[in-house]
Symmetry: C2
Subunit: 327 residues, 2 copies
């Protein structure tokens, strides 16, 4: 959107924008997806009532790689688990699951679309796994799903590599390619450059661009807005920003920003008070200082997650020194 052409564009809305709730999928990374059904059902009902377009129920993780008993049902999204909560999902809400490249037995575990309550498969991949992701996209597409590709940790990928990945994905049937700031380390000028690059490819091939941010530097929402301004039409968010480490773009802020009358904030506030605030009593997420540090340094948050489980969790200076001096 050009500021010279549009006057106060934030007052209106772009009908093409679709919102995806990934509370259960991304949020499940803080509790091994051990959510009770009533929580998943509450998010599902809220997504429907508030006009959200997609809900991601979890991962399609490999049962040979991930122990069934250490993880909740939403790590695997078996058909019977999902239907226990959503029935046949006879609603406008589309359902997605994420399949991680190299961590899913997609050939067997992803059923033909007509046998599944899922509408869309989102393939998550690091840049070096693009060929695997391409096979997964084709598999899901051939099975009848809408498909999406999330290239993770994009802040660590060199520009020529991104260009090549986009060039390869352009040749696939994937409908949406998502800019993913896994480390929460990008400023909005960087988001702008990335989204512009993705949109250029997308415009040429009839695809859409998505955005998925993390909140290490309290920029998840702002970077999401910037991506929207630059033309991203598929927007990820989670309720109260629930998510691993610093968490994600908060749904309540996103829906407050989007002016499409189809969205309703009221069911979201109800969910936050009834389900997310109680969860806050035992689970921690948000832009705590160790996550700020890894975000600033463009590092994976795992060191920050680790320190938050120790007695030294608030020894910020020691943590910063460790992150900036270790080999």
């Amino acid at each position: 959107m050009s500021e010279t052409k549009e006057n106060a564009p934030w007052v209106t809305f772009r009908p093409e924008i679709k919102v995806l709730d990934c509370t259960v999928r991304d949020g499940g990374l803080i509790n091994n997806h051990l959510f009770e059904d009533d929580f998943v059902k509450a998010v599902y009902d809220t997504a429907i009532e508030s006009g959200i377009d997609y809900m991601e129920l979890g991962y399609k993780a490999s049962k040979t790689q991930f122990a069934r008993k250490e993880h909740g049902d939403w790590k695997f999204c078996d058909e019977d688990s999902m239907r226990r909560v959503v029935g046949d999902n006879d609603t406008k809400l589309k359902l997605t699951a994420m399949a991680d490249a190299g961590k899913t037995d997609y050939k067997t575990d992803i059923l033909p679309a007509e046998q599944s309550v899922l509408d869309c498969i989102r393939v998550a991949t690091y840049a070096h796994q693009i060929p695997t992701a391409v096979e997964m996209i084709k598999d899901a597409h051939d099975k009848g799903y809408e498909t999406c590709c999330n290239i993770m940790a994009i802040s660590t990928v060199a520009d020529p590599e991104i260009d090549k990945a986009l060039e390869i994905l352009a040749e696939t049937p994937v409908e949406t390619i998502v800019v993913v700031d896994s480390y929460g380390s990008l400023y909005h000028e960087q988001i702008r450059a990335l989204v512009k690059k993705y949109v250029t490819m997308a415009n040429a091939t009839g695809k859409e661009v998505g955005i998925h941010t993390h909140n290490n530097m309290q920029l998840a929402f702002a970077n999401t807005i910037e991506a929207i301004i630059q033309g991203a039409n598929r927007i990820d968010a989670t309720m109260l920003g629930l998510g691993r480490g610093a968490g994600n773009c908060p749904m309540e802020l996103l829906l407050g920003f989007l002016k499409n009358p189809k969205f309703d904030l009221r069911p979201v506030f109800k969910l936050l008070q009834d389900h997310l605030m109680p969860m806050r009593r035992t689970k921690e997420w948000g832009a705590l200082i160790p996550y700020v540090v890894t975000g600033l340094l463009n590092q994976h948050p795992r060191a920050a997650m680790r320190v938050r489980t120790t007695e030294e969790k608030n020894q910020f200076l020691e943590f910063y020194d460790a992150c900036t001096t270790e080999a």
Copy 2:
């Protein structure tokens, strides 16, 4: 900064940028400025060690309007109070105090600069008080201070009124005019438009533009970045974002973003762990949902501050309904 002219501008730095710490002044609004001297001293020492340019010690509030015994020394910034902590301030750090239009006996309480440890007086004003602010600016300037004008609650002021205020301030000796998003309700496109407007005036008159944000929608840091991109060179922040309601732009994020080697994050992390985290145990601030609601609605946060003191503090839907339906 034009993205077509500059490649990766965030890698470099603009030496003109100066950072102002207003932890004690703005943070004091959550405790009536009842800080212990050792806290103020710790912030002062940290500001010096981390290369911060200005520190705001508090308000110059009228003692006839504000009861001395209900407020801490930093509400009034008497010379002896300040010197108890900073001595003669024989450092590079410049010291400021804020004087609210209509709430200060500036003629008597602001001493001639040569008798004060303060270097700068920041006049805070609502748009309708500009003539009072102009008199205060002239008074402080004539007494030998650097001066600054913070036009508060700018998100509620109509454009022609802002234009007129800037036109009037352009004629004064004020060195800096600050864009103040008191309600934390502006998106970065709006910040961009406002800062551009201020910068146009400032460039024409040799003044500088400042930015002061609040974090209701988790946009304080992002909007500060946007203001910097658009040419603001005087940047307000507070340690751990301490401040009334949702708080302010966090200093630790700001210094992490600014690449000028004169800034050092390490003393800031030490202050956070030793002083701000302990304060968090008894004081509340941050982008809690009631502050999100007032931010979204461009309302003063007072209703949100009130509800946070009640049993209904997490009844978000009820609060949202009250804010959207009351007359």
